[in-house]
Amino acid sequence: MRDWLIYKTFWDLTVTGVALGSLYALVALGYTLVYGVLRLINFAHSEIFMIGTFASLITATNVLGVPMLEAGQYPYRTGFQLVLILLACLLGSMVLSGAGAVALERAAYRPLRGSGDQFGAVVLAFVTAFVVGLVFFDTPKSNLIFGIIGTGPIAWMYLNIFRRGRQAPRLAFLISAIGASTAITEAVAIWGPRDREQYQTPRVLEKKTLFQLFGTDIRIDYVIVIIGALLMTTALLLFVNRTRLGRGVRAVAQDVETAKILGVNVDFVILITFVLGGVMAGGAAMMFTLVYDQSKFNIGFLLGVKSFTAAVLGGIGNLKGALLGGLVLGLAENYGSALFGGEWKDVIAFVLLLVVLMFRPTGLLGESLSKARV
C-alpha cells in the first residue's frame, strides 16, 4: 500500500522536497565555504541560521510593526507593501546573519589561528568576563561593570596564550566551534522573552496556489524559496569565480602559504568567506520563516546537521556539490518518509549519506573549493 502511495503523491513530494532541499543547500554553502578555505567544520553555522530567523521576526514585528494576527486572521499584505516587507526581512536576516558570522570568526576562530588579533581577544575577554559576571551578580548594570573591569586582565591572558604565529591544534577549532554554538543557543534560550518555547513569525504572504503541475498545487511560498535559492547560489558562484576577491578565496583554499606570499590578505579573505556563508544562511532563514512561520532557540540544530550532511553528500568544499547535496537530501527525505513513514525521515538522510560515502568517499561531486571553477 505504501509503494502505491508514493506514486500518487510523487509530484507533491517532489515540490516540497525541492523547496526544503533548497534551504538545506543554502545553509550547506556556508559549511562548504568555510571548510574549503579553513579546513574547519564550522559547527556554529547552524546558529548563524537561527540568528537569521530571529532577525526576520524582529524586522517584521518590531521594526515594521506587523501584528501576529489581525481580527483573528493572518496579517496578509499585498502588492508593493508585501514586496517591501519581504525585502526588508531578507535584508535584516542577511545583515544580522552576516554580522553574526563575522563576530563568530573574530571571537571564536581568529584568536586560535595565532594572528595575534587584539580586537578578537578583547571581544572574547569581554564576553568571558560578562558571562562570569552573570554567575555572581543579578543586575545587568553590575554584570556590565564586572565585564568591563574583567576585560583587561582576561584579554592580556588570551593574548599571551594565543600569541602571534602560534597556531592552535586542529582540535581546538572544533571545540571552539561547539562551544560557540552552545553559547549562542543558550543565550537565546535564557535571555529570549519566551525562554525555550517556540516563536511564531507573522504571516504576511498569503500561501496561494499559483498553478498546477502534474496535478499538484504549486504554492507561491515554495516558488519563492526555489527561485530565491537558485538566484543566491548563482550569485555566489559568480562572485567566487569571476571577481578579484573570489579569486583570493580560491587562492587561499588551494594553498594558504603561497597565497600569503603572493600578497593575498588571508585574514580578510577568511572574513569574506564567513560573510558569504552568513549571508546565504540569512537568506535561507528568511525563506524558512516564510514557509514555516516559526523560530526557536535550537531551530538551527536539526537543520544544521542536515545541511552539513548535504554538504558532505555533495562533496564538502565544493559549492555546486552543496547545492546538489541539498536537493538530493530534501527529495530523499520526502520520498523516504512517504515510503517508510515519517519517523524514518532522519534515518533515511543518514543512511543515504553512508551509502554515498561508501562508494564515493569525497561525495557526489568531489571535494575542493579551488576546483569549483573547472
Partner: protein, 397 residues
Amino acid sequence: MKKSTLLRASAIAVSLAFVAAACGSDSDSDSSAAEDTVASEVTEDTAATAAGVTCEPVSIAFFGALSGDNGNLGKNIRAGADLAVSEFNTANPDCQVGLVDFDSQGDPAQAPALAQEAIDDASILGIVGPAFSGESKAAIPLFDAAGLAIITPSATNADLNDNNWKVFHRALAGDDKQGPAIATYIQNTLAAAKVGVIDDATEYGKGLADIVRDTLGDTVVASDSIDPNAADFSAVVSKMKDAAPDTIFYGGYYAEAGKLAKQLRDAGVTATLVFGDGVKDNGFIEAAGPAADGSIITCTCADGASFAEFAAAYTAKFPGETPQTYGAEAYDAASAFLAAIAAGETDRAGVLEFLGTYDAAGVTKQIKWDETGEVAGNAVYAYKVEAGVISVIGLIE
C-alpha cells in the same frame, strides 16, 4: 616556554573553576528560590490563627516541564500545586511545607538524573508529577525503588499502570478511557467515514493514537508519525491530502499540533482536526493561529462540584489568571500529600501507605485510588476551538 605552559594550565583551571561555580550556585539558588517564594506567600496574620498541625520542615516536589516547547502544561500543574501548598501553609503556621521544582523540559533523557536529585533530597515526601508519559516511564522506576510516592496529574499513557509500580498514582483517567472515547466521538458525533491518524512517536502521543487506530479499525485510511523536532511535515501532509479523510486525529502535544494544523490547512486539507488532552492549552491556539478554529480537543480532566471555589482561589493567588489544563488535578494531587503530612506522616513509607487509604472529595472528582494507582471515574469531555477560544461542548457518552 615553561612559563607559558603553566599560564595555559592555570587559565584552564580558572575557567573550569568558573564553570563549576556556575553550576553549583545555579542549582542552589533554584531550589532555595522555590522555597523562598512559598515561605513569603504565607500571610502575616498567621499568629491570629494558631490552630493547625505541627510538623518538621518537609516539602513536596513538582516534576515536569516548566520550560521547553510544551512547558505551559507543566506551568499549569505547578500553579495548581503551588495554590494547594500555600493554602495549607496559611492554615498551618506551625507546619510549613516547601514546594521544590524539578524542570525536566518534558525530556525523558533528563528525567532519571532529576529524579535521582529529588530522591536524594530527604525532605521531599511526595512528587506531583511527572507531567508527561515519556518522562514518567523513565523516572518512575527510580521513584519506585526509593519508595517515593508520585501522583501524576497529567501523564495519561494507558500502559503506565502496568508496571507493578507501588508508588504510582494518577489524578485523572488514563488513555485506556480517553482513546475509545475519542474513537466514539469521531464515529458517532462527527460521523466520519474516512479517518487519518498521526502521532508524534512519543510515549503519550503514539500510545493514544494506537488506541484510536485499534478502536476505529478499517475507518482509518491513512496513518503516519512525525518527528516532533522537525519543522517540516510535508511528507505526512501530502499523504493526508491524498487520502482525503473527513477527520484527522493527532496524538501529541500542543506545540507540534499547532505547526501540523497550520501545514495541513496551508496544503488545503479541510478535514476536522481532533486532538487529545496534550493539546488543550492556549499554546496550541498561539502556534496554529486561525488554523486552530473548528478543532476538537478531548480531555479526561474535569471540573467537579467545588471547581468554582477553586477557580476563585486560583485567581486570587494569580491575579488575572484562570486555572488551565491539569491545574485542578495538580491541586488534588498536592492536597493528598498535604493531607498525609497533616495526618502526621513524616517519612516516605508513611505517606505512601496513607495514599492507599486516601478517600476525599477533590476539586475534580472523589479522589480514591485502586491497587494499580488509577483514580475512580472515567469521564471524558470534548472541547471545541472557536474564534481562538477553547470551550467545553460536553461529555462524550
